[in-house]
Symmetry: D2
Subunit: 335 residues, 4 copies
């Protein structure tokens, strides 16, 4: 017998970390540490554990040596160990694959690993080692100098279902959403938060499960320009996939980058505080281009059509994907 939905029995605090798969751990480490400016906390045989300047936890972004590129798993922090126990019971009740993850992640406490209904592997944990805060170690900041991991953006065939899972079961707030056209509007994408920003996770319509990108928060808008300059100076101009431009949704100034493995991340700044759950979410129509681009060059097709594979729950392969229920590309990109 359950005590209720996750939102009533546990308190998810925020996106905790993201694990990217890389086929060349050394190259990936150099890219993210030397150019992007993430800080290395630790490494072991398979992984490099990174964090941003504002993070006080052991890792918020992890690189793992693997056969192929893509997304490993997503981690969320919760309030307490007891939350984890209650969540395990609830996930079992829902028939989801769930287990206590071993000690494989350095610095991370007891971890509940589940395959969520969208097909993603999710880690939940309450404790993680504290590490020195680097906000005021400005002489160690370099590159784009991200302040924190901000969000992950995922693709799923039925984004309405994804929205329902996150809001009704897990208790996420919705800052903004995109709806398909009448006569039968459905949620095409939603920006969902636990921490008081626009999102910890965005769930978009697409062939999935797949990951679209991870977003790092930059300290101020000029850091976007500096990141472009520095990446171009280092020979990565072609890795700047989209932007700089400003989103209508979230109001963020952004640039999307493909790392040397082809994994995608967003350098992101200028969204707004949320957390007032009584605020009405902002609604956007799918075919309104301002939604995607408040100003700036239109997104290239590959930004819509390419995504990152997601590791299967047993880690042995990639999750099989299914086609989207709604068109995955707005009509303004089609011609």
């Amino acid at each position: 017998m359950t005590k209720g939905r996750i939102k009533d029995i546990a308190n998810i605090l925020k996106l905790g970390h993201i694990e990217f798969r890389t086929t060349d751990l050394k190259r990936a480490r150099e890219f993210y540490v030397d150019l992007i400016g993430l800080h290395e906390t630790a490494r072991d045989d398979d992984r490099v554990y990174l964090r941003c300047s504002e993070d006080r936890q052991h890792h918020t972004f992890v690189l793992r040596q693997a056969e192929t590129a893509g997304l490993g798993h997503i981690g969320f922090r919760v309030s307490s160990e007891e939350d984890l126990d209650r969540m395990k019971a609830r996930f079992e009740e829902l028939g989801l694959p769930v287990r206590w993850a071993g000690n494989e992640m350095l610095g991370q406490g007891r971890t509940l690993r589940v395959r969520d209904p969208l097909g993603f592997t999710i880690d939940y944990y309450a404790t993680i080692d504290s590490v020195p805060w680097l906000v005021q170690h400005y002489h160690l900041h370099k590159g784009a100098s991200p302040t924190r991991i901000d969000h992950v953006n995922v693709l799923t065939p039925d984004a309405q279902k994804g929205y329902d899972w996150y809001t009704q079961e897990l208790g996420f707030g919705c800052a903004e959403y995109t709806e398909s056209e009448p006569p039968e509007p459905r949620i095409w994408a939603s920006w969902l938060f636990r921490k008081a920003t626009v999102h910890d996770i965005a769930v978009m319509t697409g062939q999935g499960p797949a990951a679209h990108h991870v977003g790092f928060s930059l300290p101020e808008p000029l850091a976007i320009i500096r990141a472009c300059d520095m990446l171009a100076g280092a020979g990565y101009a072609d890795s700047l996939e989209r932007g700089p431009a400003r989103h209508g949704i979230s109001n963020a100034l952004f640039v999307y980058v493909r790392d040397p493995d082809g994994n995608r991340f967003e350098l992101y700044t200028g969204d707004y505080l949320t957390g007032d759950t009584s605020a009405e979410p902002i609604r956007w129509s799918l075919n309104n281009p301002v939604r995607q681009t408040f100003w700036g060059a239109p997104p290239p097709r590959r930004w819509f059509e390419e995504s990152m594979a997601v590791e299967s729950f047993d880690g042995a392969t990639n999750q099989p994907t299914e086609p989207p229920l709604l068109p995955p590309v707005p009509n303004y990109v089609l011609d």
Copy 2:
């Protein structure tokens, strides 16, 4: 019989608004609208109601025509009307002066007005009119272009008592605090939050009750420089009391400004997200100058010694003040 402390019976969302008293409403309006870049929502005979670009509520900063300058009152938003009813009972139980405030504030819903144990008049309300969001109306942004009201900073003779009230009774988190020197360390100041930033209110040791300043959040660091340029261009260079510099506490880049009435506000940017209540607050020693000034010119004495009078609960006069229990000025300012 009570249902418990406020923190157990109500949910304070965030600092809602601040009311400043001005002896020349027209001049004050021109200063804050034309130079600082606040947006006017409404005005009536006595008041001008202002908001920042990110605010979706009717007002977050109010100017009121009065005989003398100073602080009128402080407003906090709570989650629900029921919160207000429960809070009223609790305040009555504690013997605090409390009443339903009339309809005097345009746009503001049912309002519980209380004189808190520190001697400040506080408005609590759950509803306030929604107004258009101006974040993306960039062509209307001007001056320093604040994004939101960030915090109020107050002086009280016993800051330890203020800390206890806000954390133990009202449920505020503490991001950072300053402690007096051993052998008997006491809290000399604390930065206390409900929204997920460093503070909604800071409570500092001083002759009080008095208000030190109101803080407006700016969108990015260059806006601090632009604000200085623009104020100096308009003839207000002498009104820049302190800064630009960076605080150790909060990590904010800041400049303090005295408005034409002598009321003080801070233009503030670059603090960090809080909200993870399991994070340890950052402790600072009173006589560590980095606390005040991570870098920049030392604060002038008047920044420590001058403050704003606080209106009495009946609005007829100013609250009488009492001297601080601890020294109100760190030793590094004394020589």
Copy 3:
């Protein structure tokens, strides 16, 4: 008998002003003053005279009511009245149409008007009224807030010939140039200066004579982002034709904008000091895309294919144009 080439008998100081033709003077004035942030010095029946914050001269950008949009004329400042007399003799010797322009331009002194060998109408003058310097009137700065007119960029069928005219006859320095491919490299474009920046004029290969754009210098890089925000906020997102991005040539961070008439200007910042005439010009190959775009989205075809008509010397019509001798579009744009 001549005293020699212009470069030996006169001292051209810098680009003085540009005149744009507009079909709606009121609308154009509102656009450039209210949104872009140019400052109005004067107006008469046909023209609005504008300047930038750093300009101490009566006008550097002029809007003129006309039947069609396009470029009126280009003005350069020279050192002395005597320069003008010597230049007139030289232009006559070269058989160029030349005359003393009447008092039609407010504030502008004695003006020598010539149709240059490329087919453009050029004003040369030594004196122009001084006006208050607005650099430190920061409270009057708004919009993109250009600091000065930086350059004009023109199209001509034979850019090698244009280069020769400007360097060998007029004495311009060359900061950078683009060369067509071997086996017979010719100059495809050149960036030519009298003032100590990358250019006062760029001469590019294209159907011409025509004007590609006018460049305004912005005070710092974030002003580019603010200009995009403000233009998008005011409904002009679609007028942002290209950028923000950074040029390889000139190193400038830029955005190109089409005004309500379709005339094109560039907001431009981040080039470098020149003036050391012993420095070797930087050579770029035509088909090297870094030349155009150090980073950023590729230029749209219309950026290459659309230009502004140029008024005939008698002002009665537009100059007839001729096709370019070299391909006007690099091969990386063709597919």
Copy 4:
């Protein structure tokens, strides 16, 4: 028999380089390279040769191991070798100590070394090795990332005489000047240029000959803030002597820093283009505080009272100094 004044027989292009004396070459190198972001071109037993990102010449700033800190010498570039020969004759005619400097400076061509009438050792040279331009090597930029050496600021007992020397003999333009009070106004300080910025050298009243500071140009205003952050992060907050603030003169946003030897430099950005020699210089009254500080904290006394010793012409000792003819500190600093 002379051929005339320097201004008629030679063309000084710009400030070429500055040599600072340091008592700990290794420490000084680490400070300027790792924190300030200068780029090392070469080093020999006694010197480290540095340049900024925009410099194409072998060195613009040199550190030399010495017994005491202070200024070694000042270098200016001229147009041609023939200029040097004519200058030598003129200096000899004027009775100034002058000689061909040996090959002691790596990368620097034939060098004319003179002790100027103000008591400073000045190098003039026409050639210096070209080195790769680092403007677009953004991945190598770090720290404050200066774009170029901008100016040197010196103290001399009779600043009117210094002004006369630089303008009437050497042909410098004057962008701005400070005059002492009536009834007998004399030039108290002047900002003098050859390159088209506000100054290559400023000559101020003071005990001298002495050097006040060297100015490095930063690429944009936020770099000033980043430099403060980074210096404070590295433990050098107390080395920030004055600023960030904006000068009235030059309009520059600045911060003054004392290096580990106590030598002073300025990080400087936001001045304006000059080069139009017909423009009237801007006049400031000595006791107008806006001159020094358009906005910002007032300068500390030590900023006025401390300076850098200047090496004697034979390099064996420091130049003896004499007291100023006019008061060296404005009256607004005296109380």
